[in-house]
């Protein structure tokens, strides 16, 4: 699906890098290098998502997202923060940003996060059961069945599967899974995502032909809806 994306970023190189990547992915991209202009464009244009730098001349990113939210604009915003900025992240999310990404980042990471954000319903009332291509997951009873067959999972494996099922068809990157499943905002030295995913996969696929979880090389994992 083609998205209209606004990039507000004063660093020319990052701006061009993001704009080029998103255009190549088929999105419609508008760019802007100043907070004030950015806010003006964001309120005027009908965007599906905004990529917003935290540090901007004129009006900083936090002020932009706060102004947007105060005006009742719920356009998904992904904020770009400087290295190590723990406080930036918390302030950004509290200020109304939907997601954040620490610089420097891989383009695939930004693309995956934009994908996850852009099509997310504005107010999500989560259903207690998720069903994707024959896999049924009950968040209350904490049970999983595939084609009626009961599968027993460890709590982390369950949370991992739930996160993939909440975003069917969307690539979930390693860092997205670390944040959402493990509440890690750092990259551990060990391959915990890979090991847990391979365990989940073997439990999920035991006795089935089709691999339920697809690995997208260099990007992440996706649960395809049939």
């Amino acid at each position: 699906m083609v998205m209209r994306i606004l990039i507000i970023e004063d660093d020319l190189e990052t701006n061009q890098f993001v704009a080029k990547g998103l255009s190549q992915a088929g999105h419609q991209v508008s760019t802007c290098a100043d907070g004030r202009d950015g806010l003006f464009q964001a309120t005027g244009g009908d965007f599906d998502a905004i990529v917003l730098d935290r540090m901007l001349p004129g009006l900083d990113g936090l002020a932009v997202v706060k102004a947007l939210r105060a005006a009742g604009d719920a356009t998904p915003v992904i904020m770009l923060t400087a290295v190590g900025g723990i406080a930036d992240r918390v302030e950004g999310l509290e200020g109304g940003a939907d997601d954040y990404l620490v610089k420097p980042f891989a383009f695939s990471e930004l693309a995956a996060r934009l994908n996850a954000l852009g099509r997310r319903p504005a107010a999500r009332v989560e259903s207690p059961t998720l069903t994707v291509s024959g896999i049924a997951l009950d968040l209350h009873r904490r049970t999983v069945e595939r084609d009626g067959r009961r599968i027993v999972l460890q709590p982390r494996e369950f949370a991992l599967l739930a996160e993939l099922m909440r975003n069917p068809g969307r690539v979930m990157t390693r860092t997205m899974l670390l944040e959402r499943v493990w509440d890690f905002d750092f990259d551990p030295q060990t391959n915990i995502v890979e090991t847990h995913l391979s365990r989940l996969r073997s439990k999920l696929n035991a006795g089935f032909e089709r691999d339920a979880i697809e690995t997208v090389r260099g990007a992440g994992y996706v649960l395809r809806a049939e």
Binding site: G84, G85, I86, A87, P104, Q154, W182, Q189, T190, I192
Partner: protein, 453 residues
């Protein structure tokens, strides 16, 4: 203003106090002099009056009787130094111990000039008219004047002494203050000039100057520690970034010199991973700095340590198993602390990553949560080779690595980050390297029933 300048310097202040004291002394002296003088005069009056009465009573007021009485007193040369003049109606002296040219009107006369032989004098006198003449009883004022003079001298002396002592103490206090301040001044100037080891001399007297000197010294000590730390960190950073930067440079050099596409690509990929490692080091350093500077306690939330231990145990179990370790988790009874869940996750993850990397296959690694009610702790203990360092606590410093760990990946920032996280949450990190290696993180618990502030 003059007064202001006086008030602001110590010697000026003391001079001001001395002047005030001098003025007070002068005022008190004047009042005391007046009062004493008045009292003495009154006493003199009383004596004269009493003598007058007794004379008249003795002689029944008759002239011959008075004459006789005056002569008796004159002859006796008694201790009472009173003088008498008895005049008849015409003003001629009938009996007298002194001579006066200007007999006064009846009543008191303070300054009656008289002659006795060749000597002149002034007396206090009481003149009474009798039927047949006039009787004057006089008391010489020289005694009174003497006392007045003595009093005057006394007070003048006191004033002089007060002023003198005031000036001397002003000079002394000023000198002492200047001397003590000069020491602080000299220390400050030496430090400005670059001698960071200089301290303000302390004499142990416990005076306010001494207390100030101690406070200044401990402040300097603290600044020095921070400065040392900063210096250490910057030199560590410079030193430890040189290696990966050199490697990055070499990889890029390789990529440039190669002509075949395949090795060139491999070299670029290697260079990219070097750059990634560098970025990681920067991220870790900045993160440590940010956590160390974290002042905002409002972000702290109650964190269930027991759940955290269980979750981290479950998260790491597959990796330990895959590496052939025995991994035991004991979450212990429930304990809640005040902190940041994500940072605590990172602290425990770093410890588990370390245990995984620095122990051989077959090692036992234990992750234990414990609480005694007031504090709660998380321990990661392994039975691996341990750390061969004299002071294990140095491992919490940036870039410090155990010698045999240098071959394995890692940047020596993991434990520094753990220490920063733990101390930002009011806890304490300790290394226990008896057999194997253990890190114990201790935190104060949130009291049951108390809402965290």
């Amino acid at each position: 203003m003059m007064l202001n300048r006086f008030r602001r310097s110590t010697s000026g202040l003391v001079t001001l106090v001395a002047l005030l004291l001098g003025t007070a002394t002068a005022v008190i002296g004047t009042v005391a002099y007046e009062v004493t003088h008045e009292a003495l005069e009154q006493q003199l009056d009383h004596r004269i009056e009493a003598e007058m009465r007794s004379l008249i009573a003795e002689s029944r007021g008759t002239m011959p009787g008075l004459t006789a009485a005056i002569e008796r007193r004159s002859a006796a040369q008694s201790t009472s130094s009173l003088d008498y003049i008895l005049l008849d109606r015409e003003g001629n002296a009938i009996a007298a111990t002194i001579v006066t040219d200007h007999p006064a009107a009846p009543g008191y006369e303070e300054f009656l000039h008289y002659r006795r032989g060749k000597a002149n004098g002034v007396a206090q006198a009481l003149t009474t008219s009798l039927g047949a003449g006039t009787l004057i009883v006089a008391a010489d004022r020289s005694g009174l004047d003497e006392i007045d003079r003595t009093l005057m001298q006394l007070f003048a002396g006191a004033l002089a002494v007060t002023l003198l002592m005031g000036s001397v103490s002003a000079l002394l206090v000023g000198w002492i203050t200047r001397r003590r301040l000069a020491r602080i001044d000299a220390t400050a100037k030496a430090i400005i000039a670059g001698d960071f080891t200089r301290r303000v001399p302390v004499d142990g007297s416990g005076s306010e100057f001494d207390r100030l000197a101690r406070t200044i010294n401990s402040m300097l000590e603290r600044i020095n520690t921070l400065l040392d730390n900063l210096r250490q960190v910057s030199s560590d950073v410079a030193h430890d970034l040189r290696t990966p930067l050199t490697r990055l440079y070499n990889r890029l050099d390789d990529a440039l010199s190669g002509h075949e596409a395949e090795p060139q690509r491999a070299a670029i990929e290697a260079a990219r991973s070097e750059a990634a490692e560098l970025l990681e080091i920067f991220a870790a350093l900045l993160r440590i700095a940010e956590i160390e500077g974290m002042q905002d306690r409002s972000r702290r939330q109650p964190v269930d340590l027991t759940a955290l231990v269980e979750q981290m145990g479950e998260t790491y179990a597959p990796d330990f198993e895959a590496n052939g370790h025995r991994f035991e988790v004991d979450a212990g009874p429930g304990a809640v602390i005040h902190g940041d869940q994500r940072l605590l996750n990172q602290a425990v993850a770093n410890l588990l990553d370390n245990a995984l990397r620095h122990t051989p296959a077959g090692s036992i690694v234990r992750l234990v949560g414990e609480t005694d009610g007031r504090t709660a702790s998380i321990t990661v203990r392994d039975d691996g080779p341990g750390a061969a360092v004299a002071d294990p606590s140095t491992l919490f410093r940036r870039f410090v690595r155990v010698e045999h760990a240098r071959a394995s990946p890692g940047n020596g920032l993991g434990l520094a980050l753990v220490a920063a996280i733990v101390s930002a949450m009011g806890g304490d990190a300790r290394i226990d390297s008896g057999s194997g290696f253990a890190v114990v993180l201790t935190f104060p618990t949130v009291e049951v029933g108390l809402k965290p502030a």
